[in-house]
């Protein structure tokens, strides 16, 4: 073997380690590391793996609750959904790779998040995604949308897990850094959940899945740095996905998990073999010795450094019960997967790597994981923005035109072009999905009459305007969306996408958003059970809008009682629950009609949110409503249009009871729900709300084939639907690059 180079300051810097961090390594080892060891320290201490800028703030989150079986710290969070069933879920970012190589970046993002879920013993049952692209006219946007959507579909469709929902935004703030956040939800039995802590001494360590190649080396380090003009040169650090192998891995792992052969299991994600072996050993308080010659390799002459840092996809590491080795070999060979025993657990507490008869790494494990840097980065609060008053904001003279502009604006326009490329029905338990444009996807628990509701949400323009209120809003909107379908919200996962944490104003956004999110979580008893952080989403010093994407999961205990926005019927009355004051600050109206992004965002009154949401769920359980939709982007007008599209019937809204019309129709106050009820339910629905101290008012009727608002707009349903549907195809068709 070639002699390893001496460690110079340049080599340390190339590994993304600061001088101070290197000094800590020297102190803890009591000697200079060799290159293999340095590489291992560098990936484990990268922002991506160590959460060194975020860890102390994440610790503030509510992470426990009656239904929480496993909070943050494992591959994914686990929640109890009764009857011995549990849901295992997580959302994760794959932003940097998706910008550099959109198809493979997005595809491997989906593959990675699925592995996090089935590693714990769950069969993946649903995928969601939250996507943010640059402005539609940016030269890269079309290629990126095409590639990301094809990659998500190419992977999820092949594996056979339905992609059931998500969100897609466009904003110039993402021109240089798109966001690809993928969420996976899996189903397991509570008595058969698998964890990553290795146990025992002398237990065999198995490697299963694809062979290790040279792809993705330093991917975690790449994801921990800003981009510059030469970012395209980082393409070799993006991995290539193989969904076929993933599907075999899922089936093989679940088959072996039905036996008692597995002591611990961990997927090889970011930082591959390094991170998976160290996490298993650290959690179990044991050492690990690996024989790298036994690692299945795709290429000849791979060095220990390359093997340990490779991020080749579709690989798992597991500790097998002694005596069950043959059983494991048999299962994996049935599924035609590469499998090898590559090491054993030890009592040394060290990671020892052997290669061609030599020890090429021997380092203590605890400093790698536990003693990773934990920074308290300086942070400053964002400057509060003034509250705008509707009366001071220009009112359109042409409401038909304003409605069309908003209905075909990038954030509101139909995303059919995207979700028709995803298999939403495989597994035969999709009760509702993006297909209806509803608030949350609904996935039946196989063989039962209960279901989980799943949603992802974030309104970056609110977070930009006020990280604290915006953070509250992200959590509140998921909680509201789950309530809209009659689900009891249980817990969230999050994907915190921000710029460079070394800049105090960015760190201020991060801290503010977390504090706001956490306050909402506590108000709703709605804990965070998993998530990830993606920092350094910047190009040439320009950061993305702060984007803490939230994925919420709730339980519909009985599918005889759920609602969507599809059920509005001729002759129904529309009732708005929650108060409207005409809040246009940081609204879509402001952005799309006046090209302004100023003003404070709508405040989130968590007590009102809770009371209104609880009432909506009660109305659904009592079968008082035909359709429910939350009022969010674009306010009452857009909520009514979306309900009309989904129900395929016209709506007619009343004139503003007081105040200016644009504030009434397009204001974005929070905690509001639009419900469609039959005539004889109007009085009970309104009077019960008022008796509870809630705000409720009749705002319109359902029927005909027009979308109308008194004194404002009057257009045909079909014509407006066409505008809603045609924007994205017009943008993207003919751009298969």
């Amino acid at each position: 073997m070639a002699k390893l180079p001496d460690i110079t300051p340049e080599i340390v810097a190339e590994h993304g380690l600061s001088e101070d961090e290197y000094k800590v390594i020297l102190k803890r080892l009591g000697r200079e590391p060799n290159l293999n060891e340095l590489g291992i320290f560098s990936v484990m201490w990268s922002e991506h793996c160590s959460y060194k800028s975020s860890r102390r703030h994440l610790g503030k989150f509510l992470t426990t609750g009656d239904r929480v079986i496993q909070g943050p710290g494992e591959n994914a969070g686990v929640i109890d959904i009764d009857d011995g069933d549990c849901i295992i879920f997580k959302m994760e970012s794959h932003n940097h790779p998706s910008y550099i190589e959109p198809y493979q970046g997005a595809a491997t993002g989906v593959g990675g998040i699925m592995r996090d879920v089935f590693t714990m013993g769950a069969r993946p049952i649903a995928l969601m995604n939250a996507l943010r692209f640059g402005e539609p006219t940016h030269p890269k946007t079309k290629t990126l949308v095409n590639g990301v959507v094809a990659g998500i579909g190419g992977y999820g469709n092949c594996v056979g897990v339905p992609t059931v929902g998500g969100e897609t935004n466009f904003h110039k703030g993402y021109n240089g850094n798109i966001l690809v956040n993928a969420m996976c939800v899996g189903l397991a039995r509570t008595d058969n959940v698998f964890y990553s802590a290795a146990k025992g001494v002398g237990n065999p360590i198995f490697y299963v899945g694809s062979k290790t190649g040279r792809d993705g080396i330093h991917g975690a380090t790449m994801a921990s740095a800003e981009f510059d003009d030469d970012s395209d040169e980082k393409r070799p650090t993006v991995q290539v996905g193989d969904p076929f192998t993933e599907k075999l891995l899922i089936e093989a792992c679940l088959e072996l998990m039905a036996t008692d052969a597995i002591i611990a299991i961990q997927d090889m994600g970011a930082a591959g073999l390094t991170s998976s072996s160290i996490e298993m050993a650290d959690k179990g308080g044991v050492g690990i010795e690996l024989n790298l010659d036994d690692v299945p390799q795709r290429e000849e002459g791979m060095t220990p450094y390359e093997m340990m840092l490779s991020e080749s996809q579709e690989r798992m590491l597991m500790v097998i019960q002694p005596g069950k080795e043959q059983l494991a070999f048999d299962v994996f060979e049935k599924w035609e997967l590469d499998v090898a025993k590559i090491g054993v657990t030890t009592d040394t507490g060290n990671l020892v790597l052997n290669h061609k008869g030599k020890v090429v790494c021997d380092i203590p494990i605890s400093p790698l994981a536990d003693d990773a840097p934990n920074y308290d980065r300086p942070h400053v609060k964002s400057e509060p923005r003034p509250v705008l008053v509707a009366e001071d904001i220009h009112e359109t003279q042409d409401y038909n035109d304003a409605l069309v502009k908003i209905i075909q604006s990038p954030d509101i326009a139909s995303k059919r072009w995207i979700w028709e490329q995803y298999d939403r029905h495989v597994m035969s338990d999709t009760i509702d999905s993006s297909q209806s444009g509803g608030d949350a996807a609904i996935i039946r628990i196989h063989g039962t009459n209960k279901a989980v509701a799943i949603t992802t949400d974030c309104t970056p323009r609110y977070v930009q305007a006020d990280p604290y209120e915006g953070g509250k809003q992200c959590v509140a909107e998921t909680w509201r969306n789950l309530s809209c379908v009659g689900a009891d919200p249980i817990a969230i996962t999050d994907c915190l996408n921000f710029g460079n944490p070394e800049r105090p104003e960015i760190m201020g956004q991060f801290v503010g958003a977390i504090d706001g999110m956490n306050e909402a979580c506590r108000a709703f008893d709605y804990p965070v059970v998993s998530g990830n952080v993606s920092l350094y989403n910047e190009t040439n010093g320009e950061a993305i809008p702060p984007t803490p994407a939230v994925g919420g999961v709730g339980l519909i205990p009985n599918l005889d009682f759920f609602k969507t926005l599809k059920g509005a019927k001729d002759g129904d009355t529309l009732i708005l629950i929650g108060e409207t004051t005409g809040w246009l600050g940081a609204s879509l109206y402001l952005a799309e009609i006046l090209s302004r992004e100023d003003g404070a965002p709508p405040p989130v009154d968590l007590q009102k949110e809770k009371a209104n949401g609880d009432y909506i769920r009660k109305l659904i359980r009592n079968k008082r409503v035909n359709a429910v939709h939350d009022c969010s982007d674009g306010g009452l007008a857009i909520a009514a249009c979306e309900m009309a599209f989904a129900s395929n019937i016209g709506v007619s809204l009343q004139a503003a009871p007081d105040g200016p019309t644009h504030g009434w129709l397009f204001g974005e106050e929070q905690a509001r729900y639009l419900v469609s009820v039959e005539k004889n339910s109007v009085n009970p629905v309104v009077s019960t709300a008022l008796a509870k101290g809630l705000f409720a008012q009749v705002v319109g009727t359902v029927g005909g084939d027009r979308i109308q608002a008194a004194g404002a707009f009057d257009v045909t349903l079909a014509g407006l639907r066409q505008k809603h549907e045609e924007w994205l195809p017009n943008l993207l068709n003919g751009t298969d690059t």
């Binding site: 056979g160 028709e420 029905h425």
Partner: protein
Amino acid sequence: MQTAVIVFPASNCDRDAAMALEKVTGKAPKMIWHRDSEIPSDVDFVCIPGGFSYGDYLRSGAMASCSPIVADLVEKANKGLAVAGFCNGFQILTETGLLPGALMRNKNLKFVCRPERLVVNNANTRYTSQYEAKSIVTYPVAHHDGSYFADDAVLNKLEKEGRIVFRYADNPNGSLRDIAGIVNEAGNVFGMMPHPERAVDELHGGTDGLGLFKSIIESI
């Protein structure tokens, strides 16, 4: 009646097919692993499920058509065993030669998943006897390679012999003559790109697919 579903590596609608068959026959199908050598002799109907057998690598259905079980499948099908392939199953059946033609990449080169209206072009087959001729049914489609292709001679023959069982009302993939599903000359082997097995449940995809499964039972 005993049904069976053949499972290939990365078949992913095997469970959907099994559920649909159990729902209509009241009995769970036998799940046959692709490396088995024989279809059990008590099996009356074999379903080749959808999915991405072998990841669609090389060509959709091409590698699965070389699996060990296929030799017995072809032999029994040629002797009259009822066999239906949905989506990837249809692709596999064309690759084995049990059905003519080929499924090419969708015309717009993109995967398409949506409820699709189909015209029952021939209600006088063992797969469609429960439907009215020329009636419209809605099944979901979900495929990347669903554009049916055959040369004119084959297409004319299919047309003449009433073997075009389903046509798309709004062709989603560029299939020639809007072909969504066909049978072989003997009428026992059937393939279609849409998913009838995903249309047997009011809450999920509607129930238009039940007629197809009931027709199969009727014919056994």
